[in-house]
């Protein structure tokens, strides 16, 4: 009886398949050769618990919890050095976004500050259609670094004095339209 040899796509399963499916574009995540040019290039690589290279190895190994608990994706500054230098042209930065979103959904990342910053930002965007720096800074710091708030005050005041910060948020006119779009997108995202 002839046995079919599984196609490459069928061979990817488990956590790797999950991360790949959640990342748009031709991201080539399964092509990593573990060379480390990403970790070497990363401006915040020294502070990461795992370099992107190690994260990819862990993803392949199916170490879901370790990956989603890692601080690494949150320390990604979106500088894209790893992406343009990757000899396999893996869209590394895009995978980091995927891992962050998955970590939030799974609730696995322990330090809530970076995720909190992102979520606070998203809240403002979803409420007003625009970001709101004063609100973002205050609310984020109140929740995550209450002690830092005082330290940040000179900066905030400086911003206000130089006309670089608004006291009230701006709401776009098409808020209902934007909400409908985002709601539909989120429903589709959840369905996949």
């Amino acid at each position: 009886m002839p046995t079919a040899i599984p196609t490459p796509s069928a061979r990817r399963d488990g956590f790797l398949a999950e991360v790949m499916a959640a990342t748009p574009g031709d991201h080539r995540l399964d092509q990593c050769i573990q060379c480390g040019s990403c970790g070497g290039s990363c401006p915040s690589g020294a502070e990461m618990e795992h370099t992107p290279r190690r994260l990819f190895a862990l993803i392949r190994a199916g170490a879901r919890a370790t990956v989603l608990r890692s601080n690494a994706p949150w320390y990604c500054v979106s500088c894209y050095y790893c992406t343009v230098r990757c000899p396999q042209q893996i869209h590394i930065t895009d995978v980091m976004y995927t891992l962050k979103a998955m970590a939030i959904r799974a609730g696995l990342f322990h330090d809530t500050a970076p995720a909190g910053f992102s979520e606070t930002f998203v809240d403002y965007v979803e409420k007003y259609g625009r970001s709101f720096e004063l609100g973002l800074a205050t609310r984020f710091n109140l929740r995550h670094h209450p002690l830092a708030l005082a330290g940040m005050a000179p900066l905030g005041l400086g911003m206000l004095r130089r006309g670089r910060m608004d006291l009230t948020p701006h709401r776009i006119a098409g808020m209902a339209q934007l909400s409908a779009i985002l709601e539909r997108a989120k429903a589709l995202e959840a369905a996949t």
Partner: protein, 321 residues
């Protein structure tokens, strides 16, 4: 040159100087910008970190609005690096990923909108200025050349990387802004950090990492002999300027390196007043550096590397071309 324009949240507030100076110089270089009506936030790097796919729908709304309002231009430009990249990324990934395209199409339809990927050319403002308007056109508008001003052209990350549409000569050491500075009469300094990270959101979530990066950039630019940094991104400006003060506090150092937008320098060279260009909104005062502008070009000996010293001297450097 006509283009749709996406200002983005930062340009409206913390980077008002960027927007003001852009408004001031548009007419000088024949740049006809139409702001997208009722645009929404691009999501920065944060929305993508929370809702991986919906983030593209968020950007998709801007693309759809821009396309519908664009009329006879197909260029959409943004001044903020993150805004530019998010718009370009959504367009590029919709082009290459049918599944994403279907999702975004579906979501946009829920808002009565539609966008065909690739129907707009998403371009950063610097790209439009350098490659469409062109250095010659810029040079023609210069009335007060910035002679003697040594500028570190700083590109940051997201304009030249990942560069979906191959707009730049290099993702590591681009030269477009350097050439623009030369067109303004300023002298771009030779430095290798021009696309190194400013720290991004790490200033908020992990300041120590960010301070290290900011210090390296500030010191690198000063070591290269720069009087000031020219930037093209609100986030870079904020981190290098406002957080320079915080960084000094962290390292107990005392660097003073002003950071201006390239549009502000263009405005100065075009003879506009500092006030009109938002100069004064920066934390590190730019006026002392700007005072170094001279009436005449300085007589610098052309420090051209000679490839032909006599044998016995140093080994020749590789050709640079």
């Amino acid at each position: 040159m006509k283009a749709m324009f996406f200002p983005g949240c930062s340009m409206q507030r913390n980077a008002r100087a960027y927007l003001d100076s852009l408004q001031a110089i548009r007419a000088d270089i024949g740049l006809d910008l139409t702001e997208i009506e009722d645009w929404n936030c691009c999501g920065a790097t944060e929305y993508l970190s929370v809702h991986r796919i919906a983030a593209h729908a968020l950007v998709g709304r801007n693309l759809a609005l821009a396309r519908a309002q664009a009329g006879d231009t197909d260029v959409l430009t943004a001044g903020c690096s993150a805004c530019y990249l998010n718009l370009a990324k959504t367009d590029a990934q919709m082009r290459e990923d049918a599944r994403l395209r279907a999702t975004v199409d579906d979501a946009l339809a829920a808002g009565g909108l539609a966008y065909r990927a690739g129907s707009l050319k998403v371009r950063h403002l610097l790209d439009v200025v350098c490659h469409d308007i062109g250095y010659e056109r810029v040079k023609a508008s210069v009335t007060r050349p910035l002679h003697g001003l040594r500028v570190a052209a700083y590109y940051g990350c997201q304009v030249v990387r990942p560069d979906y549409d191959r707009r730049w000569d290099s993702s590591e050491l681009p030269t477009a802004m350097d050439r623009l500075m030369r067109a303004l009469g300023a002298e771009p300094v030779d430095w290798a950090l021009k696309t190194q990270c400013c720290g991004g959101h790490m200033t908020v979530i992990g300041p120590e990492v960010a301070f290290g990066l900011i210090r390296r950039l500030v010191r690198g630019a000063l070591d290269a002999g720069a009087d000031l940094v020219a930037t093209l991104c609100p986030m870079c400006q904020l981190n290098l300027d406002a957080y320079q003060v915080e960084m000094n506090r962290h390292y107990r150092s005392d660097y003073h390196l002003p950071v201006l937008y390239f549009t502000q320098l263009m405005g100065l060279a075009f003879g506009r007043s500092p006030g009109e260009l938002g100069i004064g909104r920066e934390f590190v005062d730019a006026m002392p550096a700007l005072a170094r502008i001279q009436a005449e070009p300085p007589q610098v000996a052309e420090a051209r590397r000679k490839r032909r010293p006599r044998p016995g001297d140093a080994l020749p450097m590789p050709r640079r071309e």
